[in-house]
């Protein structure tokens, strides 16, 4: 049953090649007004899967753009990001995404490549 007023759920599957070293799930951020939390975990996925639940409905295109840019930069593979959002701006979303990725570690060869972070 879909509630008449509710959060919007979005899911994206992006291709990617950079697989981090095994890691424990990490949580960044807080679900507060204008803020969001991101849970980053290893996943059985070729690229990067991002699922999010947001109270700000109707911004699918902006999410696609912000998350697409993020994955363009990081090209993550075998990683899932789950997000609970309460109306964060794209700037805050990008900040949290960067904070999440900062917890990842890379095999020696991969570290030299694309380390624009």
């Amino acid at each position: 049953m879909t509630p008449a007023v509710g959060t919007e759920t979005l899911q994206f599957d992006f291709p990617g090649e950079r697989r981090p070293l095994p890691f424990e799930p990490v949580l960044v951020g807080v679900v507060g007004s204008g803020n969001l939390e991101i849970l980053i975990e290893p996943a059985e996925t070729a690229g990067c899967r991002i699922t999010l639940d947001t109270s700000a409905r109707g911004f699918g295109a902006i999410w696609a753009a912000v998350l697409g840019d993020f994955q363009q930069r990081h090209r993550l593979a075998g990683v899932a990001l789950a997000m609970n959002d309460m109306g964060a701006t794209p700037a805050v979303v990008s900040l949290r995404l960067d904070q999440a990725v900062a917890h990842l570690r890379w095999p020696a060869a991969a570290a030299a490549v694309g380390e624009g972070e």
Partner: protein, 321 residues
Amino acid sequence: MNAMNAMNDMNAMNAENTPPARGQGLSWAECSARERLAAFVDEGSFHEWLPPAARLSSPHLALLGVPAAFDDGVAIGRATLGGHAVFVAAQEGEFMGGGVGEVHGAKLTGLLQRALRDRPAAVLLLAESGGVRLHEANAGLIAVSEVMRAVLALRVAGIPVLALIGGANGCFGGMGIVAACCDRVILSDIGRHAMSGPEVIEASHGVDEFDARDRALVWRTTGGKHRWLCGDATALVEDDVAAFRAAALHWLAAPRALDLATLEVEHALLADRLQRCPPGAEAPPLWAALGVPDAARVPDLDADELRQRRPALDLIRQGGF
């Protein structure tokens, strides 16, 4: 996390021979619950139970169009504090005002029941909450009550439970009652510990009853300094993680018995306060009535200066937290 490292580095350079205390220079109020917890316990000692990856979030919030949190707003687990094995819980004030819902409450109750079984040195509640999460209404009310029963069971068992209150949202409602059931309450001057928030009181009985926008009034009515002066706080600390840590370590092994003698002394403290309080609802006349010298200046004093002023009343010494 980067800002915290920089702060620690700076303190290390400035402190000459003395290494900075863990959490020194870090504002308790400005931290998130997890930042607070990580800086408060011994480094790297926190082991979380039912972590965010378990996704035990509220089943009730979606109905109201509110996003859930993966940990339902509270992190629980075991850690060490000064090497002592402790259980800890940290409530996130930014998520639903720290309100207690079904899962959040059950995590706290589970932690406290586990403490009864495993007998850690103490349980530390890093409390920041508006009380019952209204979005979960009945489930939240019953949940808070279960937390309260579990705290009281630990009081009876002699396992100390310490409430640490210093977040911007304070500790109110059912959580305010829970914290007051604890063995010890450690409050910063920024912290507030009460039942109903000023907005609710103003909405019910008007701005003359309680002007919620008068911050000075709010803090002298429900803030850390006031509670400490009256005997409703074990320790008054600065808004600093190291200060909370030091106070917690100091009071870690000091349970407050739940027996007739202790409760009679507590009753005498509360009854005496009620009886001494002049008409009206202003703090300085109450402080003066309790024997605080120069009561009008209290709001301007810092924690150190205030410590010299707490009345030496036997009642506060014996019956206070």
